[in-house]
Amino acid sequence: MLRYIIRRLLQGVLTFFGATFVVYALMFANQDNPLQALAGERPITENVRQALTERYHLDEPFIVQYGYYMRGLLQGDFGQSLTGRDISDLLEQAWPNTFRLAVMAVVFAALIGIVAGVVAGIRRASIFDHTTLIITLVLISIPIVVLAPLMQLFFGVELKWFPATAGANPSFYGLMLPAIVLGAGSLATYSRLTRTSVVENLRADYVRTAKAKGLTRNRVIGVHVLRNSLIPVVTYIGVDLGGLMAGAIVTEGVFNIPGVGSQLFRGIGTEDGPLVVGFVSVLVIIFIVANLIVDLLYAVLDPRIRYE
């Protein structure tokens, strides 16, 4: 077990360096004039351009720039964004917001999605099953760019049940509406996944055996069916958590949460290589850790799975 974890972490280190290199290279390839991008529509004077080019090593080849960046990174220095702010400060401020938002979204989506999926699976072809099918189809098919402003207008501005925007230091309550919006797409997937695997497992031999042994219905479903049905769902949730963090870009914009999404958006717009790489690095780490946790959870759910 321990060896497995260590091996996975070492793989993670490789993935980390590979990913930052690729992202840095992509940012560099896309970069033609970051100083102009920063200045917007105004032409920048030659002197400003010169001084900033030298300050940020913009005239050096890609590999040298990457070298400067990595040297700083290994010393724990994420560097500065093109506007002169420490990227570590930006990370420190943005990650907690996005993390809270994504976790709330996952918890919300998992709670409702799994319960709805289990019920729909047990009562296959009932009205409940059909209704959830329709609702989940609708949820999946509305893009978040439409759903987010719509929910904000309805629940935030018209009904005033929730604050219209969450702001920089959002309360639990302020994050609720954005989390529901963000989790809506996942919720649909979770419930469909759960339903399918519950339906499948209900037909399995071990369930028939358990029933034949005279176990109560609750025990059969709660322990035997659910445990096996959750394996694909948990796998998906693990991957999804990372995806939600990266994908919060729209939700964060609509609800004015200064998180990873908005910083990444700004970084890409202003061709700010170090800024983007800094955020993506952390994203990579989260993906790696989330997937490791998912893999380890398999053993809990299914004792037949062993790690070597």
Binding site: D32, G40, E41, T53, L90, Q152, P163, T165, A168, S262
Partner: protein, 542 residues
Amino acid sequence: MRGKTAIKISAGLAATALLVTACGGGGDDEAGSSNAVVSIEVAEPQYLLPSNTNETSGSQVLAALFTPLVDYDADNKPVEVAAESITTTDNVTWTIKLKDGYTFHNGEKVTSDSYINAWNYGSYAPNAQNNSYFWEKIEGWADLQSEDPDEDGPQKAPTPKANKLTGLAKVDDLTFTVKLSAPFSEFKTMLGYTAFYPLPAAAFASEGVVKEDFEEAIIGNGPFKMKGTWQHDSQIEVEQYAEYPGDKPKVQGVIFKIYQALPAAYADLAADNLDVLKQIPTENISSAESDLGDRFKKSAASTFQFVAFPTYQTEFSKPEVRRAISQAINRDEIITSVFKGSQTSARSFVSPVVAGYREDTCGQYCVFDAAKAKSEYDAAGGPKKITITYNGDGGHKDWVDATCNQLKTNLGIECTGVAEPKFADLLTKLDQKQPIGMFRMGWVMDYPSMENYLGPIYTTDGSSNYYGYSNKQFDTLVKEGVSAATPEEAIAKYQAAEDILVQDMPVIPLRFGQNNFGHSTKVKNVEMDLFNRVDLMKIEAA
């Protein structure tokens, strides 16, 4: 917070600090209470240093913290604020006398040195300040710059010859003189810009070096002082400075709430959680009237949008062709259909916000007349195929396509809109004089003067003359305007220069910007100034 249901009560509790303070101050019925704190939308400022700030969010915040030497009256003429008097006899040497009694927020007295040091810092090239070109006209500026010997190559640019402007001289604590390298009649007008604010001695770590974290808690000489520090991506809070000698603002403080995107700010405004939104997003313009009623306001802004001709390309070298294209464009239709009335048609080359503006200087050439346009276009032998290049990152596709469609229909030619990924790409191609066809351009005013709309964009060596336009007579008129004895004489020269543009049409004026702003029910007297800033002296609690 007087809701009835549990949900409403918890909504109140969970609301942002802004909502709470706004309720505490303006929400109650003490009408006109000067304890009110109002909230204003801004984007995250790039910088908060006068010499480095050139976008509207940063200058909005700085406008609260600093008092300029001059401000502008209803006719957009400069009037002294922090300055007692600004005088000159020859338009070269300007004597600036400061009002006594002004102090920085740390108690330090505002003296001539506060200005001289700040301006020297701003113009010294290695400091890479965005506004450094504002001091260009002052004697000695060139010595503070340096040339990179091999352009962008491996060699570093040498240190400039000097680090102080020779044109700035201290007379006494409250008087200093500014010597320009050439006469400029409107120098006083320039002094209202953000770049010309003073800095306290506390800003400098050593001579000529501004402290690294000075921006985080900047100290100014204005009616408001910073409360706490700049909370990045969240908010910047300012409160009244008790020792301020000038007119007092009518509100106790301002919270500049930082938004990542305008639609979020609009939602907050509609929910009454935000007091002033400086720019209503285009997608909400059509509903703003019904959402906000008379709290939806419009005023003139300084931006100017146009399409330009690469006059160095032979097919566009004839003014007749350019004028015919202008006549084939129905400006008003595009404004209604694409911009939903959020901008106004431009039929002059300078914006209505500057002194000397005349309506419809462009005359018949900007009046839509499809039949006339077509016959003149054909007579002049205009190209059968044209393109309009624009930057794809600026949301210009819709109106460029609409313009192209009008040209297709009205001139019977082929027209396509071509997107360059970024504005910088467009500029690069123009710098290399590539044949890119017609292209879109825009202009934001630096200081309210006709010169700012004519000099940089159309003079032969203008810094933003991308069209290769050159007319000796025009250059001379602008130059004469710059060195004219009085602003009135200058305006006469500028207007004569503008008339030449009408004949030559190096660009087609299309639209003037407009401030489309809105405010909550908690504030009144909300006005926007020429620089897209909320007038903080006038705003008060409702």
